[in-house]
Amino acid sequence: MRLKPAREPSSSRINNFSEVTRVFSPQEALVEASRCLQCKNAPCSKGCPVNIDIPGFIKLIKEGKPAEALAKIKERNSLPGICGRVCPQEEQCEKACVLNKNGEPVNIGALERFAADSAACAKMPPMIEKDKKTGLALSVAVIGSGPAGLTCAAELAKSGYTVELFESLHLPGGVLSYGIPEFRLPKKIVADEVAYVRGLGVKISPDTLAGYTISLEELLGKRGFSAVFIASGAGLPQFLGIKGENLPGVYSANEFLCRINLMKAYEFPTLATPVNVAEETIVVGGGNVALDCARCARRLGSRVSLVYRRTEAEMPARREEVENAVEEGIKFCFLTQPLEFLADSQGLLSGVKCIKMQLGEPDDSGRRRPLALPGSEFIINAGTAVVAVGQNPNPLLAKACPGLKTGPHGTLVTDDALMTSIPGVFAGGDIVSGAATVISAMAAGKKGAAAIDAYLKELKHEA
């Protein structure tokens, strides 16, 4: 039977931001690793966006060698502590696992995390494969230190390039730092894995906004970088566009999570950044970000209602996170769409006027389109509201650099090798794909690093 790691009890975890899911004990890890059939064709590895040798690392865990297991993972993935926690394994490696035929796939995610945590990943010496070094004395600039940027920088450093990673915020990590809460992804883990990337020789420059502090032209010109990888992410929050959305008390998910995760507003007034969480909070949306916001508000003492315009079946959020949220007492209001944010006499948010929905014919996304039920309007009281209905690519760099060709919703247009409309400038992750997952951004970072390596070798060959 598939083993799941223990979780902190919901009664205590709603009072703090400590990690919810515990790590496997060595005994549990051995038991779960022993369930792996060691399939020769490794369907799990094919299901992994970065093709980790999953049977290989599980075998090492089974042999009681977690450090070697971690080294095996790091051949393909520089951020295992992060992926073990936030990858949607049920859609990827575990979905492909042969044992999933009985609905009991090997718990690959928990085993990956076990390897990462038990080997204290950052303290391991970086494994630079000397024979892979190109010997090209060239440098590459990477813009954005989220999963795509960190991965690309790590891969390029391993191949022998000098890499500088530029980040606009004061801390590296992108969405790993500002977006995903401490109780799902402790910031210590992010810091350790960033330290590992630094250990590979990557220079990280925070407080630098590409296009403003430094232009692409300068990076490729006087700063002497031979290529640039843009991984600036999907940082532009979408709003509902309804009345009252700018009332104090209405947050975008990005602002709410930034205040709480990046600025640690839950430590106010010891730390300086505040966040307002009223007795009742309403979160709008059905994805992982919406659940993160709801669970943060719960931990800050609020009663939380999550409204989603479709049903539970259509929610893009991970099942596991929905279960966690239910246990923590989040109230789910399905088939509900906000119409207007309401203000009290002082101009502060007091509630949200909503309408009931029903599902109609499938839309472009293949999901049944929600339709309003006339006359079903009702009010949910709330002093805080968080709008978590998606993000668009960050438009700043494209605006500052008109040579960069953009597509729908401001994504950067690239060729198959991830090169943008400017020679030597590559891009990947959410800025190209639109908002997606951590692991798909990492896959794009890896692909970008390989493409940049090939491009620079070709240039050298021609010269």
Partner: protein
């Protein structure tokens, strides 16, 4: 970011020169930085009051109004500001105006100076109206005089210049324009200061049909268009002041909404204000 020098215009208003060569190299009138005074502090926006590309420094002028500005004021030359990001926001659109009226209130005069100077250098005739609560709180009078053809000063208490509000002399100028006793027609009024002042100025100048630009000061977090804390309603649409502003056509600005949003954390600010220096 190393603090090179610190001086006081008054016990409340501080001037700091800060080493920030990349910001100084790019800075233009109207732009701002986001800084964290000390680790664990808030990210706050401050206008770039001046910059020196050769020295690689920028000048920040701020009033000690709350926790973060007080915390910043406790730093000394030789200390480092923990984090500083910039230059942010759109630069002021300077060219094409022959006659401009620049209006600044309080510490807003520090933000007005680089804008007035840019208009002056571009050949505009600049009339400046500066307002302060009292004589001791008036800043940058000499610097503003250098870039203005005419400089008018008002104080709330009448301790310097004439007693009154910036709208008083502005009304005088605009009505004389209307009565054709003023020889040049102002094409632009540029106002920066407290929201109520900008709102009053805009109410007046727009009434005379003169294009009016205001520089808004909403709460910000990242300053790069990511969080939306700074959203303002302009011409009925939501705009992010950090990337689409901070300057907007005053005729479309919902000032009442901005005032309400600025009060979002007032109760929490009171709780933390006296703790500055404890970070």
């Amino acid at each position: 970011m190393l603090i090179i020098s610190k001086t006081y215009y008054s016990p409340e208003v501080v001037r700091m020169e800060v080493e920030a060569p990349e910001v100084a190299a790019k800075a233009a009138a109207g732009q701002f930085v986001i800084l964290i005074p000390k680790e664990g502090g808030e990210r706050i926006p401050l206008t770039i009051a001046d910059w020196n590309k050769d020295r690689g420094t920028i000048t920040l002028i701020f009033q000690k109004v709350g926790f973060s500005t007080n915390t910043l004021s406790f730093l000394e030359p030789g200390d480092n500001i923990a984090h500083l990001l910039g230059p942010l926001g759109k630069p002021t659109h300077i060219n094409g105006y022959s006659e401009v009226i620049c209006v600044g209130g309080g510490v807003g005069i520090a933000e007005l100076y680089p804008v007035a100077r840019a208009f002056y250098k571009a050949g505009s005739r600049v009339t400046s109206i500066l307002g302060a609560r009292s004589r001791g709180l008036l800043i940058l009078e000499d610097a503003m005089r250098e870039v203005s053809k005419e400089l008018i000063i008002v104080t709330d208490d009448g301790s310097y210049g004439s007693k009154g509000l910036v709208t008083d002399p502005l009304k005088g100028i605009l009505s004389s324009v209307e009565n054709s006793t003023h020889n040049v027609y102002p094409e632009l009024v540029y106002a920066i200061g407290p929201v109520a002042m900008m709102q009053a100025v805009a109410g007046l100048s727009l009434g005379y049909g003169i294009k009016t630009i205001v520089s808004l000061n909403p709460i910000m977090v990242d300053g790069t268009g990511m969080c939306g804390a700074c959203r303002c309603t302009v011409h009925g649409k939501t705009a992010f002041a950090c990337v689409e502003g901070p300057e907007f056509d005053a005729s479309g600005v919902d000032f009442e909404e901005l005032k309400t949003r600025l009060k979002t954390y007032r109760r929490k600010e009171i709780r933390i204000n006296d703790k500055a220096g404890q970070l």
